[in-house]
């Protein structure tokens, strides 16, 4: 789908928002949520459930344990794809029993208008998965959940009434909790194409494990293959926190929503209470600059006939120069250490380094770029680096060549960094933002936002410079090691020759002492002393060890 067609779709979607239930809309426009065919559907279902599970754990300071299983429940026929049960269990905070039905059965269930960096936005995705399951198999979703403080485990089977956008409970109940388990387990049955989706799903889980090395992830495939990613660290990234929106990032629809939700009585209060980083002085100056009375009731903006006024405020919010830049402290980057641990684990890489850049903003939306590079080890050398893209901790697997990161990474001349083709190189790029600039509704690639592009470029180049230093040190170390071998391999031969020459002619054939060993020892010391190996990552090897090991392996054949 072209970008233009996509944006047209979006406008249509917004129009329809008013006319029909959002559930009905999603049911009719599956591809918009990533459910365009049986392959994408099963991939998207796994993805939505796993992301929900991680949001329920690491965002709440719980070390995640996520179990994913896919089972075939009905084989494919000539005209119908196979049916699979996808089950995902986490040890997260759980859903309170009275919220389960709405959380899973009502699309766009949301209590409060705030912004927050989450994996799935507003939890739309999992409902789309439930709708897809319901439409292809008619099966209800089965949810089992318990919060930490609860004495019970609650379960519900429910369907979504598409017309009314209401959950319909088929079966529910509770069990007394005998352990201290808490978390959520969701079972979904859907039509899917596992065979085609398999590689992508495995790749998705691998990449998820990469940036969440603090999570334990188990995946069981329909063929009963187990993919197990043990926890390798207990360190977790700081959970994202909620924040009020920044005025630069507000569009007219959001402004309308905010005005309708607000409890404030004047425009001055509205500005100070509902936006971040605006004090009374700034608010007054701003309102004065757009000619709005500070005492005006904000609800006036959504009254009939005032659309011009609304337009003035919306434009003013986006363009006024004297707001403080957006806050970024509520963003949750993965962090350099975790990226390095993850890369090292997945590729058994020889060298890894990651960087978390300072927060920046585009159009009022703060973002943080993180990048990591892994070099050598088990990485299979290829003509261009393997690119791993993430947005808000979600791996992006499709539309790689559309992505701004691909543009940056493929334009780098790696030879300048002492990296020869084919290169055993992995480049990871993570963008954390309250509003990730996705290219399309499929949310698989990021747009070429200029601020983002230059941040990604700076991040990747900064690490590449470290890598260049490492490689050149390593090369010079290798040259020195080769020198040690080149020289040391002759030590036994030289010692033998010299020991023969050091027997005086008149002592020849008598028990003249053979000083072969003594000469070897001396030569070992002389060679070792002449070579200093560079420190690599703070470690330095003793040349004498190498000299001795070379000599130990030398054999002279006559």
């Amino acid at each position: 789908m072209s970008a233009e067609a996509e944006s047209e779709e979006r406008i249509k979607a917004q129009e329809k928002y008013r006319e029909m239930s959002i559930a009905e809309f999603f049911a009719k426009n599956k591809e918009l949520a990533g459910f365009s065919n049986p392959t994408r559907a099963i991939y998207q279902t796994v993805r939505e459930l796993v992301e929900n599970s991680l949001d329920a754990t690491d965002s709440h300071n719980v070390l995640p344990e996520v179990k994913i299983s896919i089972k075939e429940v009905e084989a494919a026929t000539d005209d119908k794809p196979a049916k699979y049960e996808v089950a995902v269990e986490d040890n997260g905070i759980g859903v309170p029993p009275n919220e389960i039905a709405n959380a899973f059965g009502k699309v766009l269930y949301s209590s409060k208008y705030v912004i927050r960096q989450t994996r799935g936005m507003y939890g739309l995705g999992v409902k789309a998965a439930i709708l897809y399951s319901q439409m292809t198999t008619g099966q209800p979703v089965f949810i089992v959940s318990s919060t930490d403080s609860s004495d019970n485990i609650y379960y519900k089977k429910l369907l979504i009434d598409i017309k009314k956008n209401e959950p319909v409970i088929i079966e529910e109940g509770q069990l007394l909790k005998r352990s201290n388990w808490h978390g959520t387990k969701v079972y979904l049955t859907l039509e899917g194409d596992w065979v085609r989706a398999k590689q992508k799903i495995i790749e998705y889980i691998k990449r998820t494990a990469l940036i969440a090395p603090y999570a334990e992830i188990i995946f069981e495939t329909p063929e009963n293959e187990i993919y197990y990613f043990p926890r390798v660290t207990k360190k977790m990234p700081k959970p994202p926190s909620e924040a009020k929106p920044h005025p630069h990032g507000i569009d007219i629809e959001q402004l309308k929503a905010m005005v309708s939700f607000t409890k404030t009585k004047t425009m001055l209060e509205f500005m100070v209470e509902e936006f971040q980083s605006i004090g009374e002085i700034t608010a007054r100056k701003f309102l004065e600059s757009i000619g709005i009375d500070p005492n005006m009731n904000p609800k006036m903006l959504i009254e009939k006939g005032n659309s011009k006024l609304l337009q003035v405020v919306a434009t003013g919010l986006r363009t006024y120069k004297n707001f403080r830049p957006p806050r970024s402290d509520y963003l949750s980057p993965i962090g350099e250490e975790l990226i390095e641990v993850g890369l090292k684990r997945l590729f058994n890489a020889e060298w890894v380094k990651a960087i978390t850049r300072q927060a920046r903003a585009y159009e009022g939306h703060p973002f943080i770029v993180e990048a990591g590079i892994a070099y050598g080890g088990n990485i299979i050398p290829t003509e261009e680096p393997v690119l791993l893209r993430y947005a808000n901790k979600i791996p992006l697997l499709y539309e790689e060549r559309e992505d701004v990161s691909y543009k940056v990474v493929s334009s780098i001349n790696w030879k300048l960094y002492n990296i020869e083709e084919p290169m055993p190189l992995v480049v990871l790029v993570h963008v954390a933002s309250t509003k990730v600039p996705y290219k399309g509704v499929g949310k698989e690639s990021l747009s070429e936002v200029q601020e983002l592009e230059s941040e990604i470029k700076n991040a990747v180049q900064e690490i590449a410079r470290s890598l260049r230093l490492y490689i050149s040190k390593k090369n010079s170390e290798r040259t020195l090691r080769e020198k040690i071998v080149t020289i040391s391999k002759y030590i036994p031969e030289i010692a033998r020759s010299l020991s023969i020459l050091s027997i005086p002619p008149d002592k020849w054939g008598t028990d003249g002492k053979n000083n072969n060993e003594k000469i070897i020892e001396k030569l070992v010391k002389i060679v070792s002393k002449s070579i200093e190996l560079p420190k690599i990552d703070g470690k330095e090897e003793d040349p004498e060890k190498i000299v001795r090991s070379v000599i130990a392996n030398v054999k002279l054949e006559q």
Partner: protein, 385 residues
């Protein structure tokens, strides 16, 4: 061990002592922890100088250091020591290796593991050219020639004449070898000159001409010691000629083809070769005289009448080739070819672009060559120095 002669044993002992002393210096410096190095006089044209007072080519004073710790020199360092040790071993064990033997004795495989843990094989040397280079290194380092080290090479030179020598335990009369001749041994310094009845030494470039002069009885008639190097002379022949000149005080005349190649052979006898300049001090015979065939012998000069008439010239003269011209131009650069007579000789050659083989003189009749041309040239002092 009675078959080993006394001269040999004395020579061996002396040389072995030099070896032992020279290389013990290296062992001692290693003992002190100094980076091992060998000092070797440079064996290149740049370090070859002509000594006008002695009239020979010599090695200059420039030395190279061969450092064990220098990656580019470490293998040659090993090869030099390996060669020294096998020569030393042969010396003290009374052996006579040839340079080919030394190549085989030193050639073996060093097995080692590379950085990736792969087992690699490397031979101490591959080609004999490598072991030969090591022999030359050992020679210049110790100041000894391979003949001193009792290393044998193929015998090439021959001699006949009224003279008795001792070689090993045998006394040989150089006048009683029939149509054959005494092959000059690889270790000419171990030859003892007993007695002789000769007034000059005649060295001829070509073996065939040597045989003709021998059969014609040239050396009996003119009390000559007749020598040939059979083309480019080997070291033993040059050393032997030098000893005849030094020890018996006999004049040395050289007879070669009339072309730049013949002149170069004369030059090798007289001043030494560039490749082997380090041995010139003991091999060169600076007072050797170029007897002919000279350009003026062919064409005449001033009052001197040519030995060939017009018809003979037409029949015998060969047109000089480009390589001959090139070689002549090279020789013109060497200072010992700058004398008045040599300039005249080379100028005539460049002018006529003609050369002549010595066989041409013989085809005028052997008697002409043996009993007219050579004696007349010597008598009239018609030579070039």
């Amino acid at each position: 061990m009675s078959h080993i002669d006394k001269i040999d044993i004395a020579a061996r002992k002396k040389v072995a002592e030099i070896f032992h002393k020279k290389f013990s210096e290296l062992s001692e410096s290693i003992e002190k922890g100094s980076p091992p190095k060998l000092e070797i006089p440079m064996r290149t044209l740049a370090n070859t100088v002509f000594d006008p007072s002695k009239g020979i080519l010599k090695l200059g004073i420039r030395k190279i250091e061969r450092n064990f710790l220098n990656m580019n020199e470490t293998k040659k360092f090993m090869q030099t020591l390996l060669m020294a040790s096998i020569i030393y071993q042969a010396l003290v064990e009374n052996e006579y290796p040839t340079i080919r033997d030394l190549y085989y004795r030193g050639k073996h495989t060093i097995l080692f593991k590379d950085l990736n843990g792969k087992i690699k094989e490397e031979n101490t040397w591959e080609e004999q050219s490598e072991s030969d280079a090591s022999i030359r290194d050992v020679e210049v380092m110790t100041g000894l020639l391979r003949e001193d080290m009792l290393i044998l090479s193929k015998e090439k030179g021959k001699v006949v004449g009224n003279m008795r020598i001792r070689s090993g335990n045998d006394i040989i009369d150089l006048s009683k070898l029939g149509h054959g001749a005494y092959a000059i041994e690889s270790t000419p310094d171990l030859i003892e000159f007993l007695d002789y009845d000769a007034e000059l030494v005649l060295v001829v470039e070509k073996d065939a001409v040597f045989q003709q002069l021998h059969r014609a009885g040239f050396w009996q008639k003119y009390k000559a010691l007749l020598v040939t190097g059979a083309g480019q002379p080997d070291r033993a022949t040059r050393r032997f000629v030098r000893r005849l000149h030094d020890e018996l005080k006999l004049p040395v005349y050289i007879l070669t083809d009339s072309d730049p190649y013949g002149w170069y052979i004369y030059s090798v006898f007289k001043v030494g070769s560039i490749q082997l300049s380090y041995e010139s001090e003991r091999l060169a015979t600076p007072k050797a005289k170029f007897l002919g065939v000279s350009m003026s012998d062919i064409f005449g000069y001033g009052t001197k009448k040519a030995y060939l008439n017009d018809e003979e010239r037409r029949n015998f003269i060969i047109k000089a080739k480009d390589v001959d011209i090139k070689r002549a131009k090279e020789l013109m650069k060497y200072s010992w070819f700058h004398s008045k007579l040599w300039k005249r000789e080379i100028d005539m050659f460049m002018d006529k672009k003609a050369k002549l083989e010595i066989e041409a003189m013989a085809s005028k009749g052997l008697k002409f060559l043996a009993f007219q041309y050579i004696p007349e040239k010597i008598q009239t002092q018609d030579w070039i120095e």
